[in-house]
Amino acid sequence: MMISNKFIAIIGFFALLFCTMLVISFLGIILYDIFSKGASALSLDFLLEYPRKGMTEGGIFPAIAGTVFVTMVTALFSLPLGVAAAVYLSEYAPDNWLSRFIRASIRNLAAVPSIIFGLFGVALFVQGLGLGLSVLSSGLTLGLLTLPYVITTTEEALKNVPHAFREGALALGATKWEAIRTVVLPPAIPGIVTGALLGLSRAAGETAPILFTGVAFYLRYLPGSVLDQFMALPYHLFILSTQHHAIEQVRPLAYGTALVLLSLVFLLNIIAVVIRYRFRAFNQR
């Protein structure tokens, strides 16, 4: 009886290890395939040139620039709004139905499928507000999608600021806003930046919300203002792998685009994780 129990335990734990290895291997396969095959397409020209000859040659510079541009608009919209909402929830919100309703709305907003944000962007920004197909429409749509992340992570960061800080400031005669501005927000900044980077990395990789709000198949010029259309890395990858007239021929370019997209998203992720670890080490000192 004892032996068979031990045997089952060993088999069981090996099964758990196997599950974990398999999950990690999924990431490994994705990374290996894209990085090994994308590397051959990668060059300085690929990063800095425009697509040529019906996108069968040349680089992806406008797609990189477009993604950076639209992500900046996303940040300008979702960061101030998200941080302010988090300050309300963490510093002001009384424990009542309204606060609970706000929190529930944020959690449910985070669960809304990205294509629904696309539909909303079309109805509100593109048509309702008349912003048309533009960087602004796409940036605002992606901003909505990022908002719940920014709020949740900022609130967490604010909650980690010790209560004594606030009480000290108030005891010295500061108003609540002065206390928030001078002693609550500054120590929370690394946490806020971490959350913002994670949210923005997700926004930069999203395709569905920009599909109908401003991204373009091919443009000969970079967007000159926020009201112009733009090219974007995730959409470019989608085009090259499904919509192009010579899919097999452009496969290396698709791999290169995937490599650049993944690198960009992971870079934001890694910076976020590094800031978080440093911050944690700092707090524990």
Partner: protein
């Protein structure tokens, strides 16, 4: 002094309105979907919309608006994804929570976050270049873009959600429960199966439901990898077209203000209600797994 008070009051108002925007946006999205979607039903009956599997909204003369085959496709791909992701996800969560040393855990957690960070369009690309040829070869098909492909990819996309939430709920099981089990002579495996898993059951269910929500709402992966045929699928080797993919394919080519345009918002409303219900159910269950000792 008066000015400082005034600024303080003003800022409180600013923060409150920022907090309220989340409510406004959520209600705004729902309202917009219902408002636009409802216009479909001036000409299409609810029975046809939900009961017919004939979707041809831009047909000249007699357009048809049945979403049944898309609902079935969405459910099929999601169910297939869960068959793969549930055992793998819970197994990995149990490994992270019960077996892995803190050092291993500190490496595995960010790795799984990284998997969650892979953009869906990149997963769809992998579906086209790796999974589709593999499926075609293994099962002797001419084309690997089908429901099975979608299910495999959605499993990969749902795994990080399932793992994270399930692990949280397992770690929330108080230490005393495990110690009591060891004191009775149980080994680690028995403790896991008989104590930790039952104690975190509602949290694990919440993790699965959130994973389902993630899979149902995913767009680009299924758009790229499932073949997009509107016919009713007969099995996992058939190409399928989900609710999300239909919106993504047709919103770009539809004329503004037509019945077809509104019917896509109707699809969106169905999708929104499904993900809202899924999320509320998961929250209800997740709130139960906090033990008070």
């Amino acid at each position: 002094m008066k000015l400082r008070k005034a600024i303080d009051q003003l800022m409180q108002g600013v923060f409150l309105s920022a907090g309220l925007t989340a409510v406004v946006f959520l209600l705004g999205i729902f309202g917009m979907l219902l408002f636009n979607g409802a216009k479909t039903f001036k000409e299409v009956s609810l029975a046809e919309f939900f009961g017919s599997s004939n979707w041809n909204p831009s047909a000249y003369g007699e357009p048809s608006f049945g979403i049944l085959s898309m609902l079935v496709s969405t459910l099929m791909v999601t169910a297939g994804a869960m068959l793969i992701a549930i055992p793998l996800g819970i197994g990995t969560a149990a490994y992270l929570s019960e077996v892995a040393s803190p050092k291993v855990r500190n490496w595995l957690k960010p790795t799984i976050e990284l998997l969650a960070g892979v953009p869906s369009v990149a997963v769809g690309f992998i579906g086209i270049v790796l999974v589709a040829p593999a499926i075609a070869k293994v099962f002797g098909l001419s084309n690997g873009l089908n429901a099975l492909n979608g299910a495999i990819l959605l499993a990969v996309m749902a795994l990080p959600t399932i793992i994270t939430v399930a692990e949280d709920s397992m770690r929330a099981v108080p230490k005393q429960f495990r110690e009591a089990s060891y004191a009775l002579g149980a080994n680690g495996w028995t403790t896991l199966v008989r104590v930790v898993l039952p104690a975190s059951f509602s949290g694990i269910i919440a993790a699965i439901i959130l994973g389902i929500g993630r899979a149902i709402g995913e767009t680009m992966t299924v758009l790229m990898a499932t073949g997009n045929a509107t016919a009713m699928p007969n099995g996992f080797f058939d190409p399928v077209r989900t609710l999300t993919a239909t919106i993504a394919i047709e919103l770009g080519e539809v004329a503004y203000g037509t019945n077809h345009y509104y019917s896509l918002f109707g699809l969106g409303a169905v999708l929104f209600v499904i993900s809202l219900l899924v999320n509320l159910l998961a929250e209800k269950l997740a709130s139960k797994f906090r033990y008070k000792l």
